[in-house]
Symmetry: C2
Subunit: 282 residues, 2 copies
């Protein structure tokens, strides 16, 4: 069965809006409705009042945890934060995002290196992987599960928004959720039925992010310049960062925003927190 | 439109096989065909001879890079390894996986912290985030893009298998792909049209990985024990690790396998490599 003209047109429009170049799929390709949803992904921060059915949420968790896991070590976990007091403890550390309080679903995806350590203790085996790679594996496992959750959530009509800010004060998040040694927050996620269509976030052109055989940044400066202009045309920033220090830029594009953002330290204590959770990172 | 009886039955069967408990979705839920694909995810290592159309691959990259990105910093990139010499350099560091050589598509998903550093240089702004969180953000961005790629690939009938082993000798992978300072491999991915149906990998029950309000491992030991037995019933391990040291276990389950696996150091030099790529990790 060929995809409908409607799906094809949406894919062309979404790829043009996202990457600045329309991609025309072969109508005979199966699964184009799913690719359309994927391309049309938007982050949602405002939700209508409808609750998410607990049975549906459980099904979405099942989809999420069907994601691949490094060496089948299954180092992800998720905490569904229902209790208002615990949620407030976390939200209070994120000054600009009071809307998290009202999201129908608030999750915190965690890396869990503790389970495999305990298994080793129970089975009398040493844990011989006190190094950076193991921390990264747990973080990546949690990210894979979160992304899988987002795709499943969007398939059933929900919208979501990841909240990496749960790491701004990781120690507070950790206390709120009673995370023991070996477990750490990777990202929060708000989810619910969207109250509005949302805006698509344009991305760097694929030429900047997809390479053949070797890393290539020969055209990076001009690609970013084009991207700044394209993005300014469709989704201009509403305010400029740190104008006291840098003034008002005539064209305030993505690169100027990100340069200003990265000039300010963020989460300098996260490493200390992670070491405190028992990771050597060596 | 309600989902067909066929899709419902597949979701029930897949959740039972994966998690040990059948989940029955409301037939009125939209997108159940996508949830079914998500739940039925399998890793594929053997592919039929069909090449992947370059236009389709590009569309999948577009889907992949539509994934969320931490603070819109867009710190992911992917290298499509076409050149046989470069691919061989990497495959030669992974002794047990010669099949990677023949995969129709071989990708390496990378974290790229370099782009935002260069943007800062070009725009005369300091980079004030020399710490662990920034390394993690780049790794997580790459993981989100890879997971998004896998979902899109499976939607169009492709199969895939992530290869974290590209980090076993990250320095060699890095040289093969000419990764400069600030860029590092997160995972490889083989993709193509599957030659066989593949086997589903059973997962820990959701009770072990999904918690409400607080981390909870009160029933962990018994849940793992049940899981070991369930898994042994449907997908027993074909060989036991390190029998010289530990002997033959009568019931060789997931936990015994993982305890033995983690007793052997892996990638102890990855931290050194990452520090050499310019990350302080402090």
């Amino acid at each position: 069965m060929s995809a409908s003209r409607d799906i094809i047109e949406h894919i062309e429009a979404a790829s043009a809006e996202r990457f600045g170049a329309a991609l025309a799929p072969d109508p005979a390709t199966p699964g184009l409705d799913e690719l359309r949803r994927c391309l049309e992904h938007r982050s949602h921060r405002r939700f209508d009042g409808r609750p998410v059915d607990p049975a549906l949420l459980k099904l979405l968790f099942a989809c999420a945890f069907s994601a691949p896991s490094k060496s089948d070590l299954q180092q992800a976990e998720v905490i569904h934060v229902v209790d208002a007091v615990r949620r407030k403890m976390i939200v209070d550390t994120i000054p600009d995002m009071p809307w998290i309080t009202d999201a129908p679903v608030f999750l915190v995806f965690c890396g869990n290196n503790r389970r495999i350590r305990r298994i080793g203790e129970w089975r009398g085996k040493p844990f011989a992987n006190e190094h950076l790679d193991h921390f990264m594996n747990a973080a990546v496992d949690a990210a894979l599960v979160m992304m899988s959750f987002i795709r499943a959530a969007e398939a059933v009509g929900l919208g979501a928004c990841p909240i990496s800010h749960v790491r701004n004060h990781a120690d507070v998040t950790s206390r709120a959720l009673e995370l023991p040694e070996g477990v750490f927050p990777v990202a929060g996620l708000c989810a619910g039925y969207p109250a509005a269509a949302g805006r698509m976030s344009p991305r760097l052109p694929l030429e900047a992010t997809v390479h053949v055989d070797r890393h290539d940044e020969s055209r990076l400066a001009e690609l970013i310049d084009e991207y700044d202009r394209r993005r300014h045309g469709v989704l201009p920033y509403r305010r400029q960062r740190d104008t006291k220090r840098y003034g008002e830029a005539p064209l305030y594009g993505w690169s100027e925003d990100k340069a200003r953002q990265c000039a300010v330290p963020e989460r300098e204590k996260f490493g200390e927190y992670i070491r405190g959770q028992g990771f050597s990172l060596k």
